[in-house]
Symmetry: C2
Subunit: 361 residues, 2 copies
């Protein structure tokens, strides 16, 4: 039986000065409070608490520094025009976090406790939820191994933390298509590895390729599979979709691709709109053929940060492919408007995705 | 031009009580001091210092927690019977660390500064170097991203730290062969990934398989390649060797295997002894065939912690293969004695591997 845990609240003495809403950026400013909960083999999860935003203090031998046993999530809270506060499918994040935890030998979190933690933390920092168009409060739960020991084995102690950052409009001047470099040398993940888990090592593995792409004028990398270097996996840290002859395709979840929550929402929206959507193995050749014969109509990435990120150009082995004349496609725009509309509480929410928070003053 | 850096030394006020040398274990106890050096894009590496062993204090948004941008090393200092202090091939560790850093988009370290840091730190904690047979002082240099920002990109700030732990005899009752589970589902690394780098994510990825193996009575996992699940890569966190009909084989470095310093020393020793040694692609079928027809004479792992770890049994897809009747082979024992003899300053050092430290009192 799961013990009910009462979350303690210690309010900060002095509030930080808030940055202007048109200069937020992404993950640069953090709110006044954070959530912390500890774990030991003996006690399980204990002492859940909302405390003033403060440094994490770790022994230098803590396993997080050496063996990367850690998992994170990312989700957003939105302030509606009529003053309500909405979370986008938070249970999906907590459930995915637990799947990632399973893969990384990290103990499971209690879904209800995490939801309560989110509510209490957001309550404490509700004046940090930005209101300008395109802004939101980005929420970063993460869990990491803190046992001070260098043996390579799962940690006996963990810390689960939630921090929050007001983030700006991803596209302050309207949704702009990006140029993407198709990576043929470096690999992000392989079947049997940890690609499906939202764990630090996957992101570390991608930094080098991303930097190379940037030097050549591309904003992100399109990852191919680690076995054949042929089948499309993800773009940067987003899932990817291609519209070919009226049908929308996205790589099927194979264990090395992140099971994106925006991805599954897009699939649900398209199905609801009676637009054919197919999850399948997609080769880069297929996409290039469709691009050359004119049947590739749109391509876009999906993720929590940008929601929809249209792809205006691909470059694969020096072969450039311009998509939709480098402009945003009709369907990309429709999906962006629909999803952000639901998230901001402007559109109706036919799927019951949004969770309205009951914020105490 | 590299700036000469003067290393500051702040001694601890109170020394810790040292654990008994027969109860050291591995990476459980830490010495009185540690080395720290900071990096920023503007300043490069700065403020190298030996300070009392102390917690690391990080903003919760520090990139190490989220994107795993970190690299580590492991090496040992030995106290000889005549009171000298020796390091085993430390330059190799620093050079490998810089190769790992390159892969992880972490700035290069100055080899000379790191060597000086090792010497000063070991000087400060020289009374921690254990003297009992099989013991040594394990040294853990590591570097990690500390920039407080959630954007996925290489950090602008890093910390480089060295901690040290007196470690016990890996085999207190003599070198004992281990039982190894050949992993057919999970994958440690793939070509194009970060398998060659000594980075946290590789170890996190292996925890699950290691736990499964332990539950079935095996002490480590033998990793197969991520593409064909057929070619042998590493065993646990060691490199692996097989002696078949008098010739010693080890998997060739392919980018997903760690370039082990013990591995390269073993190859050099075997060559010196005129024992044929071949680096090649080795399939698990090949090893099993040699095992079944009696030509597989010995198998062993190599690494800093155990030096030589004989393999007494393999289990691959429910097919068990006992090697050398589960006992340590003649060559494994000879290699173990030779290498540990050189490391402890008992044997002569024909290759100039050992670096004698000039310890100030």
């Amino acid at each position: 039986m799961v013990q009910p845990l009462e979350i303690q609240l210690e309010r900060c003495k002095v509030k930080k000065i808030k940055p202007p809403q048109n200069q937020l950026g992404f993950g640069v400013y953090f709110t006044d409070h954070m959530f912390i909960m500890d774990y030991s083999l003996e006690k399980g999860w204990y002492q859940p608490r909302v405390v003033p935003y403060q440094p994490i203090v770790l022994d230098p031998s803590a396993k997080i520094f050496h063996y990367g046993q850690t998992v994170f999530e990312g989700l957003k809270a939105y302030r509606t025009e009529d003053g309500r506060t909405l979370l986008f499918r938070p249970q999906k994040n907590i459930q995915r976090m637990n799947r990632s935890n399973e893969r990384l030998s990290i103990p499971q979190l209690n879904e209800k406790v995490v939801l309560e933690a989110l509510e209490l933390l957001i309550s404490a920092d509700q004046d940090w939820i930005p209101t300008e168009p395109g802004t939101s409060l980005y929420i970063r739960p993460f869990v990491f191994a803190v046992q001070p020991a260098l043996g390579v084995s799962p940690s006996t102690h963990y810390q689960f933390v939630i921090i929050m950052s007001p983030v700006g409009a991803y596209y302050p001047e309207g949704v702009n298509p990006v140029k993407i470099f198709v990576e043929s040398e470096f690999v992000r993940a392989v079947i049997g590895g940890v690609g499906e888990a939202k764990t630090a090592g996957n992101y570390a593995a991608g930094l080098n390729a991303q930097e190379n792409a940037k030097k050549q004028g591309y904003s992100q990398v399109l990852w191919l599979d680690g076995i054949h270097k042929r089948y499309i996996e993800e773009v940067g840290s987003m899932n990817v979709f291609f519209k070919i002859k009226g049908t929308v395709y996205t790589p099927s979840l194979n264990g090395s691709i992140l099971d994106g929550i925006t991805r599954s929402s897009i699939i649900q929206l398209l199905t609801h709109w009676n637009i054919p959507v197919v999850e399948k193995v997609i080769s880069i050749e297929e996409v290039y053929e469709a691009g050359k014969d004119g049947s590739l109509e749109e391509a876009f990435g999906t993720g929590t940060a940008a929601v929809i990120s249209p792809i205006g150009e691909l470059s694969w082995q020096d072969d450039k492919l311009v998509i939709q004349n480098g402009l945003i496609g009709e369907l990309s725009q429709r999906l962006y408007d629909a999803l952000t509309g639901i998230q901001k509480g402007v559109n109706s929410d036919p799927f019951g995705w949004m969770v309205e928070l009951d914020l105490t003053p």
